[in-house]
Amino acid sequence: MNTVPWLTILGAVPLVGSAVVALLPKGRDLIAKQVALVFSLATLALTIVVALQFDGGSSQPFQFIESVPWIPAFGISYGLGVDGIGLVLIALAATLVPVVILAGWRDVEDTPDARGSVKGYFALILALETTMIGVFAATDVFLFYVFFEVMLVPTYFLIGRYGGPQRSYAAVKFLLYSLLGGLFMLAAMIGLYVVSAQGGQGTFNWFDLAGMDIDPTTQKMLFLGFFFAFAIKAPLWPFHTWLPDAAGAAKPGTAVLLIGVLDKVGTFGMIRYCLPIFPAASEFYAPVIIALALVGLFYGAFVALGQGDMKRLFAYSSMSHFGLIVLGIFVFTTIGQSGSVVYMVAHGLSTAALFLAAGFLMQRNRGSSLIADYSGVNKAAPVLAGFFLFGALATLALPGLVSFIGEFMVLLGSFQRFLWVGAIATLGIVITAAYALRLYQRTMTGPVGPGLEGIGDLRGREITALMPVVALTILLGLYPAPVLNVVNPAIDNVMSSIGATDPAPVLGSTGTSSEGTEQ
Amino acid sequence: MNPANYIVLSAVLFSIGAIGVLVRRNAIVVFMCVELMLNAANLAFVAFARMNGNLDGQVVAFFVMVVAAAEVVVGLAIIVQIFRTRRSASIDEPNLLKY
């Protein structure tokens, strides 16, 4: 066992960074940025150290376990630990934060009506990172909830203070919507605690709760509470309307963290909490959820197709992708769930690429995010256009990129369980291509639009910020083993905890059976 | 006669006092109505003391008189203060605080 509280250290580093940045004297903006970057890089380095120590082959799905009693009165402990799923999502967060910091280097200065200070912006981002790490590392449901909710606060400020014209409305809507889900989850969580207390001292310990046998009726009620919160977060159709507003109002960097990491908490929560703790309820609700996921997949894609605003388009596209992730989780196949996790990572990266590239573009044109305001950027800023295209391709899950692996695994897993679901979902890839390329065509190609002639191409810093994302997208696409190696055991654990088994191939491995078809 | 009649009387007085509070506009009269309600309570205490056969009720009634006296002083002081400011003892007139 580990004696070093790695996860605590990991979470503490950005928090300390946040405090340091916040306490810097006014006007030392450059130093604030540099300090923020250093801390975020240190976090990334630590994450890599942790990831390298993670033993994917171990029989123990959760590692780096820490547990200290926190509020014994309610059986609450400060419990941390990661399995493969948590680890890759933490890694995703740790990767994206320095990227966002670097990309947002001049976000505050370049927004004339920004409400906050430079150091505040970066302090909030670092604080957000702490909560992101915490939420993925918590093994105590209560602790998870705390991070889940506290996470809203820095995000709220990031949107509301540093966002675009609709920021206030969007921030409040985001917060209230999330709180609504969170409060229902709180009620369900308390219900869970009360159920666990029926046999003596109640607990919030995930390991105990996951091993608990709850009667199906109760499960169904409690499940709804948790699922509702996650469905809002993810966001699943029809609980999504906060996302376009929030993403539309937020700075690109904020939007990347919001969609790329924060929203993953929803899908992460489903796979970590809904399934293992409420297996019977999960099974009961799966058809409905799958239906919602499918609706969301196509709904999001079609609305994205009709969007005139880039940021909103990305939001709807994400909604569509979240439909896919949720689908992968609730078809109860190893492949589908592994795929979902891979897709979470992939989506984080692709969102980052696309959103940041779009952000760089908008910054060059008075912050306009209207597609109609752009044309022929490729001519004026070819490198920018290149990254933009890369982002679009990552979004449409081009094979060879990591998003393809995730998407395909989800589709395959769905197909494996429910033939028609998988088949219908697969049709989504056409619409995805349609809106992604339509966006590129409208903005980047054709004659250079008015006012765009001299916008200037990406600078070194901007390219530096984008490169890691691009590189990871390609590398993991060609060699996803680092992710799959740690995710697969965790998924096996989830599958066994819900008692689901994969459908065997029709012919089996021996190939002797000639019976049966896919019908 | 049933000793409960005392209690019934007190209930009637209490209700009349309550109605007075609701329909009268002069703050002093309203306050007198409240005093009437306290008196009704006192009557109930006294009657109950007799019915229960212990003196607690009478003691309470005694204390209530003391308390009521103090309350009257404070209340009247407040009313006088308002009157001096507004030249009116109407309870409806101070109506700046609302919604």
């Binding site: - | 019934v8 009637v12 309550a18 109605i19 006192n42 007799r50 009634a61 008189m65 006088v80």
Partner: protein
């Protein structure tokens, strides 16, 4: 039934109950606040009688002295301050307040009377003889309880009384921010100001116009503007003295004189 209620008490009850209710209704229904207060006093006195009838002679006395004597006097006193004539208009200004108030009050009364009546139907009073005997009397009994069982409450009421005194003083006592000037100081100030030290002449009274705007005539026959109120002077509303009038007046006077 250890202690029946005799006829005398029954009569007393019905009389006093009737009067008390009458007083209460009078309190609520009188338009003039003073009348209300007097009706209230009627109720209180009757209640005092009922206390006595209920084996609470001490309380009956206290009721008369403290309530009717002190509290009601205070009420009346304040009423005097506020204005004896203060009366409510009959028009209810808050929509529906009166109807709703009466309705709710009646509902409350009905609920209470019905509930209490049914709860106490057939209950006999235990009587206070035994309780009074323990200490040798009603007053002694109350005294003992006040100084033993309810000592803390008794002590605590002192805080209440001090608060009351304090409150009355804070809100009603007008402190001076400077020493009150003496008679001498006042008269000196009056003369030193250089203004007209004595009474100003009253306006001339010629009831042919708005009389206050008419200056008085000094003994020498000249009009004195000082006799016209200052606001009118400031507005320039001083009626000029018409000499035709003067002679006319003189003639009239002469006629009168003769």
């Amino acid at each position: 039934m250890s202690e029946g209620i005799n006829l005398g008490e029954t009569i007393v009850f019905w009389v006093c109950a009737g009067l008390a209710t009458l007083g209460a209704l009078g309190l609520v229904l009188s338009r003039k606040a003073v009348h209300s207060a007097l009706w209230m006093a009627l109720t209180m006195i009757n209640l005092a009688i009922l206390y006595v009838a209920n084996s609470a002679p001490f309380l009956g006395m206290v009721q008369v002295i403290v309530y009717t004597g002190a509290v009601m006097m205070l009420f009346l006193f304040v009423l005097m301050v506020v204005g004896v004539d203060a009366s409510d208009s009959l028009i209810e200004t808050i929509k529906g307040q009166r109807a709703a108030g009466v309705l709710l009050g009646l509902a409350l009364g009905v609920l209470m009377v019905w509930g209490i009546g049914s709860a106490l139907a057939g209950v006999a009073p235990a009587g206070l003889e035994r309780a009074n005997e323990i200490d040798g009397g009603n007053v002694q009994g109350i005294a003992r309880m006040i100084f033993t069982d309810y000592l803390v409450a008794f002590e605590a009421t002192s805080a209440l009384l001090i608060t009351a005194a304090m409150g009355a003083m804070v809100l009603a006592h007008r402190e001076r921010w400077a020493a009150r000037p003496t008679q001498e100081q006042l008269s000196k100030a009056r003369f030193l100001s250089g203004e007209h030290p004595g009474n100003k002449p009253s306006p001339g009274i010629y009831a042919r116009h708005n009389a206050v705007d008419t200056p008085a005539l000094l003994p020498d026959g000249t009009p004195s503007e000082l006799s016209v109120p200052r606001p009118l002077r400031a507005r320039g509303d001083v009626r000029p003295v018409d000499h035709a009038d003067m002679t006319e007046i003189a003639e009239i006077e002469e006629v009168d004189a003769t």
